[in-house]
Symmetry: C2
Subunit: 188 residues, 2 copies
Amino acid sequence: MALANRDKPEDWTLLMLRIASFLVTASATIVMALNKETKTLVVATIGSNPVTATLTAKFQYDPAFVFFVVANGITSLHNLLMIVVDLFRHKFNERGICLVMIPIFDMLIVALAAAGDGAATFIAELGKNGNSHARWNKICDKFGPYCDRGGVALIASFIGLGLLLVITGLSIIKLQTKPKPSNDVSVP
Amino acid sequence: MALANRDKPEDWTLLMLRIASFLVTASATIVMALNKETKTLVVATIGSNPVTATLTAKFQYDPAFVFFVVANGITSLHNLLMIVVDLFRHKFNERGICLVMIPIFDMLIVALAAAGDGAATFIAELGKNGNSHARWNKICDKFGPYCDRGGVALIASFIGLGLLLVITGLSIIKLQTKPKPSNDVSVP
């Protein structure tokens, strides 16, 4: 069994962190991708008759949120792939490629996830507070639950990014301390 | 001399990449930090007299651009510090800490720089195109040169981030291939 080769505590720690990172980034992706709110507002009154307009807020309306969903989706898939690689690492380690490529791919994904988080955070901040200089009005006073769900997705994504930073740091340290992979062939 | 210890071609490549990354991220910081445009616009006409208003666009007006300047400033300082560490690495390598800490710090800075770039890019996109759903009007039609300079800062910052990704990747590979630092004490 692949799991039987996992004899060191740090291997278990890395796998658990990776699973946690996958779960929170996947949750962030799903929460943001399903984020939609429709609201009917009174925009004017003619005589005593209110004139209403139905407004919808959804993540697709802002490129930053679309990028956030794509970035977090790719981060989740990367985490899932790395879990699979970790479970079958004895097959990859024989080739000696795996160990050095994992932190490099992790780092690229860190850059992508951080860019997505940065973009979505500052657009969310704009939605919450507006910007009087640019005359961009806040929208969270009208779409409270939409903004709350977006906030939850952001927090989850930041936790996932933090975990990924820890994982990459540990992988780099492991690279320094571990003997060369050619001496590390496991029996399946 | 510290430079005399640099006998391998990849050491020179890393140092050159680091200097290039420092120069472009420092340029991005400066260009964005100095980005300001004041314009007098006709906002109304009373009779035949135009009513004007003086509007100013500057980076401090948007939190994303402030974050971009801070992130790129820290990235520049990190690059500068790493250049110093690289020039005097024989002193650090004796302790065996340096080699593994460099890619870890680099990765944290990659996350910071990527978040800054993501934030500024999507706010810049909003300034350029607006967002009809949120009723956020574009501002680049009024502040063209301001937006152009912001674009230059963004491009420079992305080049700096790309170089940092290459540097971190190479540092990780170096970690895998290099003998342990305890055997690598240089004579100053």
